[in-house]
């Protein structure tokens, strides 16, 4: 089962290494990890997705809590969360296929960032699944490069 952990940490050097190191040490595989500053410049938020059964996720959150720079951990409930990922996809496309690729991008509300004689670079924002879907549709054209940010997520509502 995939969990999305939202982790508030002090914005200090070395914190990312401590968090990532802890996962490695305890044998947890990080699927994605995105870090950015929050509304408070002294605090950063890490969004970490991990594959884990119920029991180990409890152990990993407890271990994370032991890090002095970790302030708060929330195991986000997918029902009450909006999550997004950003991807940049470079796909092969010449004059003959350009229209078709652009149409695909449009259907996914993706944007064309760059055009060259032989490629198109597409920016897409959305859920993990949406990005996967576009990726699969573009695959027959020949995807040369993909850059994905990893998931960021926030709880719905006023909180």
């Amino acid at each position: 089962m995939k969990h999305t952990l939202s982790v508030l940490v002090e914005n200090k050097p070395g914190v990312l290494a401590r968090v990532a190191g802890l996962f490695a040490r305890r044998g947890f595989n990080i699927n994605s990890l995105a870090v950015g500053i929050t509304e408070d410049p002294d605090i950063s938020r890490m969004t970490i997705t991990v594959d884990a059964e119920e029991h180990p996720i409890e152990q990993v959150t407890k271990q994370l809590h032991k890090l002095i720079n970790v302030i708060k951990i929330t195991d986000l409930d997918p029902e009450k969360t909006v999550a997004r990922e950003l991807a940049l996809i470079k796909v092969k496309s010449d004059a003959g296929t350009r229209a078709e690729v652009m149409q695909l991008a449009e259907i996914f509300r993706a944007r064309i960032l760059d055009v060259s004689k032989k490629t198109l670079t597409i920016e897409i924002t959305g859920t993990y699944e949406k990005i996967d879907a576009l990726e699969q549709l573009l695959a027959p054209h020949g995807v040369t490069e993909i850059v994905r940010t990893g998931r960021i997520a926030i709880e719905r509502g006023e909180k």
């Binding site: 190191g21 152990q59 407890k62």
Partner: protein, 561 residues
């Protein structure tokens, strides 16, 4: 003042009066400030010794141990000592010098990323980048090291930061939004625990090092007495419950007593306090205390249900939680005879499976040496050990009756720990007889600290149980590897007594049983650092023993024949 002087002021503000260390290029400013200070510095011969001394000092006194090393190799030599302190939750602050700030990251001379290297084995660490951060960082470091579940904290300080000027002001209260240890146990859980205890017919208390950290011995005793519950302790918990008490089961686990292991296997309620259900205690998890409801009291929430599923978890300080449970129990209706049958059963096990060994004519039995130490010191010495057979004999054949009198490497199992730790313990408790029981293998891992002991006139007594083997590994090879003693025979040994004399300590070689007691008495009377080399029976084993992966009631050698 200079940054280095601010370090001294910060140490004093933390109540430090003793530090262990060895200078080097990147801590010259700090040592220069030490030169004028009234802090007592003990110069070691190897930085690993400094870390273990700080550790032993902390365990014997309950204070934070402090060690200092220069950058690079000095810092990396601390690593084993830091890992050891981490595994056994010892409060320690390790101060390391670092290459000049502008050189960091250039592979400068004696540069090592020590905060990176130690990251998995510290409770927290700092690389100080601004001189004005010194007071705050030291304040936080001592606070983190000594509160909650204690542990080592490392402070890495570039040499230029030690030299820069600072307008020193003592730091205020630490502001650590992510660090708030839970001290008070949850009231509802405390009540639930008390109810379970009152309802139990075959309860066992299982106490670990947390009992000693929290100073919860009286509270533990109060509950045991009130409810007539037998108590077993882990290796780290030795001294947390007096072994001369009828309710004591001694140690449990791989080399635990038969009666402790049977009691845990057959109990209907297991109350773990400040213990972490380590694999050396539980043996095969599937069969560990399988009929029992389990209560776990621990300071560290991450320990609860980590290895064993817990029915009633209570996070908090052991002393506070046990006092709460005791108060609840006193208000409850109790049937004092409820555990009578159980206690009878325990007594039967004690009679049937006592600790024992076969005395052999013409040989000094290692267990006998420990018993003699116990008799002569009236169970009142601070006993330190390395790791191996001698450690287990010390755990089993000495009567542990007081907290902070047992200094042994538990979690990491560090050979070479005992002797420097004993020096640290004696520095902290000069009023006590401090004895290090060592193996002939392990003693040579930090033998150079004889110079430290002699130089500062620290009268620690080393009792080597010399069997010419790396004994515990040899025992495994004998029992499980067809007696193929691959590289465990250490036939090429120095004359330990002569080595001791060469360093200026008292050295004695003891080959006859009748001389054992006299040697120990002479060493104590001499008030000098001493090395007693006891030539014990070579192929003696530690029993009982639970083979790895077996249930703890499947002991070998647990029956007196």
């Amino acid at each position: 003042m200079k940054g280095s002087e601010a370090i001294i002021e910060s140490l004093k503000a933390a109540g430090v009066d003793v530090v262990f260390g060895l200078p080097g290029g990147m801590v010259i400013p700090l040592y220069d400030a030490l030169f004028d200070s009234d802090l007592k510095h003990y110069l070691v011969r190897h930085e690993q010794g400094a870390a273990h001394m700080a550790d032993g000092y902390a365990r014997a006194t309950g204070k934070v141990g402090v060690c200092i090393a220069t950058s690079g190799p000095g810092a990396t030599n601390l690593v084993t000592g830091i890992a050891n302190a981490y595994m056994d939750s010892t409060p320690m602050v390790a101060i390391t010098g670092q290459a000049r700030s502008d050189l960091i990251g250039t592979d400068a001379f004696q540069e090592a990323d020590i905060t990176g290297i130690t990251e998995p084995i510290v409770k927290h660490s700092y690389l100080i980048k601004k001189t004005e951060d010194i007071p705050r960082v030291f304040r936080e470091a001592f606070y983190i090291a000594s509160t909650g579940r204690p542990g080592p904290v490392l402070i890495d300080i570039p040499s230029d930061i030690q030299l820069a000027d600072i307008d020193y002001k003592p730091a205020g209260k630490p502001d650590l939004p992510g660090y708030k240890p839970t001290l008070k146990g949850h009231k509802k859980q405390i009540r639930a625990a008390a109810k379970a205890i009152a309802a139990a017919e075959r309860p066992v208390l299982y106490a670990g090092g947390g009992i000693i950290t929290a100073g919860a011995e009286k509270e533990l005793m109060a509950i045991a007495k009130l409810m007539k519950i037998p108590v077993t302790t882990t290796l780290m918990g030795l001294g947390g419950f007096p072994e001369n008490n009828d309710l004591s089961l001694g140690m449990l686990g791989m080399h635990g007593t038969g009666y402790a292991n049977y009691a845990v296997t057959h109990c209907d309620l297991l109350i773990g306090v400040g213990a972490r259900f380590d694999d050396r205690v539980t043996g095969k998890l599937a069969t560990f205390a399988r009929q029992a409801k389990k209560i776990h009291i621990d300071m560290d929430p991450a320990e609860i249900s980590k290895n064993v599923a817990i029915d009633i978890p209570i996070v908090g300080d052991a002393r506070d939680v046990l006092a709460g449970i005791h108060a609840e129990l006193k208000t409850m209706k109790r049937e004092p005879k409820k555990t009578a049958l159980w206690l009878e059963q325990v007594i039967t096990w004690k009679k049937k499976h006592p600790l024992h060994y076969k005395d052999e004519k013409g040989a000094i039995m290692p267990q006998y040496v420990i018993e003699e130490i116990n008799r002569i010191t009236r169970s009142d010495a601070i006993l330190c050990t390395d790791v191996g057979q001698h450690q287990m004999w010390s755990a089993l054949f000495y009567s542990h009756i007081k907290p902070r009198h047992w200094v042994s490497s538990g979690g990491l199992g560090t050979m070479g720990f005992g002797f420097p730790a004993a020096i640290g313990a004696k520095v902290g408790r000069p009023d006590k007889v401090v004895i290090d029981v060592a193996g002939d293998g392990s003693f040579q891992m930090n033998i150079q600290e004889l110079a430290t002991a002699v130089c500062y006139d620290i009268p620690v007594i080393v009792c080597i149980l010399n069997n010419g083997f790396l004994g515990m590994v040899r025992q495994w090879q004998e029992l499980f590897w067809n007696k193929r003693y691959s590289e465990t025979v250490i036939s090429c040994q120095p004359d330990f007594a002569a080595v001791a004399e060469a360093y200026g300590a008292l050295g004695m070689t003891i080959t006859g049983k009748k001389d054992v007691g006299d040697a120990i008495r002479t060493a104590i009377k001499s008030k000098r650092p001493a090395v007693l080399d006891f030539h014990v029976k070579a192929e003696e084993n530690v029993f009982p023993m639970v083979p790895a992966g077996k249930s703890i009631d499947e002991m070998i050698g647990g029956h007196k024949s």
